[in-house]
């Protein structure tokens, strides 16, 4: 049945456009970026745009990173955290929180009992205030950054920051599952009042790790 439908749909399409003029591929005279490519400005823009959508953004140098992470986990009273394999041990060296590796792997039910997740990212987009995850070893499976209520994401600045969506796409591989995150989960479905955290993490904290190439 499906095979005949395939042929039927394709032949209907051919009949429908048969006499139409050819339409060439698009001209792309839009901009590749709307901002300067200055890394300092880009980091500031990323910070502003992420904050606009109620992500909490911090900036820190590598020596301050473990202290900041410990402080943020304490601020959210997180008692347990899941950490993808390639997140450096040193990032959590200043706290004694219960630590899960994604071994087994962890079931959704177990992840639901974990308070936080700490990851890196594939890249971040300044103009839109977006961090992109591609399942790389410091980000883990998609479920890890979905079920726990607090997501702390470390962005290496300026190395991982691009200005715009057109700059981001060529750097990403379609063969990896991608998750673009612009602020925490949100809904405006009830009288257009914005409420954070319906299903994804209710809190997104982004740490710009400065001076890392």
């Amino acid at each position: 049945m499906t095979d005949t439908s395939r042929e039927r749909i394709l032949s209907r399409i051919r009949a429908a456009v048969d006499r139409a003029q050819d339409v060439p591929p698009p001209e792309r005279d839009y901009l590749i970026t709307h901002t300067s490519d200055d890394p300092i400005q880009n980091a500031e823009l990323l910070q502003r745009n992420l904050s606009d959508y109620r992500a909490v953004v911090h900036r820190v140098t590598p020596t301050g990173l473990p202290g900041l992470i410990a402080e943020r986990l304490a601020a959210h009273r997180a008692r347990s955290i899941v950490v993808p394999d390639a997140v450096p041990d040193s990032w959590l060296s200043a706290c004694a929180i219960a630590r899960h590796r994604d071994e087994g792997p962890l079931t959704p039910a177990v992840l639901d009992t974990v308070d936080a997740v700490l990851t890196g990212c594939a890249l971040a987009i300044a103009e839109t205030g977006t961090i992109v995850l591609d399942g790389g070893p410091d980000q883990g499976r998609r479920a890890l950054t979905l079920i726990p209520d607090l997501h702390i994401c470390v962005v290496r600045a300026p190395a991982q920051i691009v200005s715009s969506v057109p700059q981001a796409l060529p750097l990403l591989s379609p063969s990896a599952p991608l998750t673009w995150i612009s602020g925490p989960s949100a809904t405006s479905d009830i009288e257009l009042d914005r409420v954070e955290g319906v299903h994804g993490p209710r809190r997104l904290e982004v740490i710009l790790l400065d001076g890392v190439a």
Binding site: L10, R12, A16, V17, Y53, P170, S188
Partner: protein
């Protein structure tokens, strides 16, 4: 289309009721004006908006012209990446395929991401008939489902409901579907969202089958894209073992690079955000991450008929942003239900009668549910000339119905309705005065349709000037 929409009264009667429902009108007015103002601001941030809009138009037109080729390429890429592709000529076939796939898993429950395509084919009802319960997981869709109601807006489907109504729905109905709402539930949006979170999380964690649509499908790579805010989409796309996506064939774009256009124009046009909170992109299946089985159902269901219409085919460019709803003076007063289909507002007025044909009274009345003010065209991120298609369809209806024919009566009643409603008409006339030369020689009303086929092409420049000066 969905059984829920059978027996709908034609547009004017349904609209009449909506106009007299003051709560509904207040909700709609607030919603459309709020989103409209935010959208204009988000769009103004991009100095190359017109170029992006033009590129979007060109990409879609090019794709539609070579849709056979791109669908075959898409099928090969999805298959290569571990997915299975099915083709469905109509709603019945699509529903049959989904039901069989779900049954093959042995499951009787599925979680769903908000999807216009599955609403269009009445999937939930079809699954229910097979003993399968489909849970809507978008907050607004959950509200609609619990209320045994119909969506009234593409983006915010429960916009016709206020918080007090939602509170009592949750309190009364949630327990029948799973975890009950907490005792002492208030009507604060945060409290209501929390109740939905608890209710649905239970379902997400045990779900073995997820069903979605997609905003885009990339032929070159086989990638599907879902754009959302709440994270319910991510839950449905990644936690189940089996993922079934039902997608209209027109959602295809040729290349990975094409996403750079639509991922800029869609969020700003729909939720007025620089980027929506979550965008998920996946290609087939990935070992150890996400579903093990992925099925893509390519849905025709009337789309090839739309494609065959030279003027009307541009409706297939639509990326379902809903910007046209929020600027439409008729939608604002009539509400989404009056359109009698899952596609409300200006896009519904041109898409529905093309997908379903104009044989029924409601479908024949839809091309008249407009003041032809042109605001929908101005905001459309893929430049669909909705007024032009409306006039074209009016001509078609005029041809099919002789005097006294029932569709003709319904159509005239719709244009009469627009004329009888002062706010709507005032909006029309204000625009007409400011845009001399681009409006129909006579306002839409008795007899106007007979001349509508000879209307001059609508130049857009003067209207655009007006819009620039007057929008807020």
């Amino acid at each position: 289309m969905s059984a829920a929409f059978l027996g709908m009264p034609p547009f004017p009667r349904a609209a009449e009721e909506a106009v007299h429902n003051t709560t509904l009108r207040a909700n709609l007015r607030h919603a459309t004006h709020t989103i409209r103002a935010k959208r204009a601001k988000a769009v103004a941030e991009l100095s190359d908006w017109e170029q992006l809009r033009e590129a979007g138009r060109q990409i879609k037109d090019h794709t539609l012209r070579h849709l056979d080729r791109y669908l075959i390429q898409l099928e090969a890429a999805v298959t290569e990446a571990g997915g299975t592709v099915h083709w469905a000529a109509d709603a019945t076939e699509a529903n049959r395929i989904v039901a069989d796939l779900v049954k093959a898993t042995g499951e009787t429950e599925v979680v769903k991401v908000k999807s216009m395509a599955t609403q269009e084919i009445g999937l939930n009802e079809a699954l229910a008939a097979e003993g399968i319960t489909a849970y809507e997981t978008d907050l607004a869709e959950l509200i609609v489902q619990l209320g045994d109601d119909r969506p009234s807006h593409i983006l915010v489907p429960a916009i016709h409901r206020n918080r007090a109504e939602i509170r009592s729905l949750f309190a009364d109905e949630m327990g029948k579907w799973g975890r009950a709402a907490p005792h002492g539930l208030t009507d604060s949006p945060a409290d209501l969202a929390e109740a939905a979170r608890l209710h649905l999380r239970e379902k997400f964690l045990r779900a073995r089958v997820g069903i979605s649509g997609a905003n885009f499908m990339v032929a070159e790579t086989g990638t599907l894209v879902v754009v959302e805010s709440e994270g319910n989409g991510r839950m449905c796309l990644t936690l189940p073992r089996t993922l079934i996506s039902v997608v209209g064939i027109e959602k295809t774009v040729p290349t990975w690079r094409d996403l750079e256009v639509f991922l800029q124009t869609l969020p700003r046009s729909s939720t007025a955000e620089r980027m929506n909170p979550y965008t998920s992109l996946w290609t087939g299946t990935t070992d150890d991450d996400g579903p093990r089985d992925f099925h893509l159902i390519l849905l025709d269901n009337g789309r090839t008929d739309v494609l065959a219409d030279e003027v009307g085919r541009q409706a297939l460019r639509c990326i379902r942003c809903s910007a046209c709803l929020n600027v439409c003076p008729v939608y604002e007063r009539a509400g989404g239900h009056a359109y009698g289909s899952v596609y409300p507002g200006p896009i519904g007025a041109i898409l529905t009668p093309q997908l379903r044909g104009t044989g029924s009274a409601i479908d024949a009345s839809l091309p008249y549910a407009s003041t032809l003010c042109g605001a929908c065209y101005e905001v459309c991120p893929v430049a669909i000339d909705i007024p032009d298609v409306l006039l074209h369809l009016r001509g078609r209806i005029a041809e099919q119905g002789g005097p006294g024919h029932r569709v003709e009566r319904a159509a005239l009643a719709a244009s009469g309705w627009v004329l009888r409603h002062p706010t709507v008409l005032a909006a029309t006339e204000k625009l007409a005065a400011a845009t001399r030369g681009m409006h129909p020689r006579r306002p839409p009303g008795s007899g106007a349709w007979t001349t509508s086929r000879e209307l001059p092409d609508v130049p857009t420049q003067s209207f655009r000037d007006w819009w620039q000066e007057n929008r807020r």
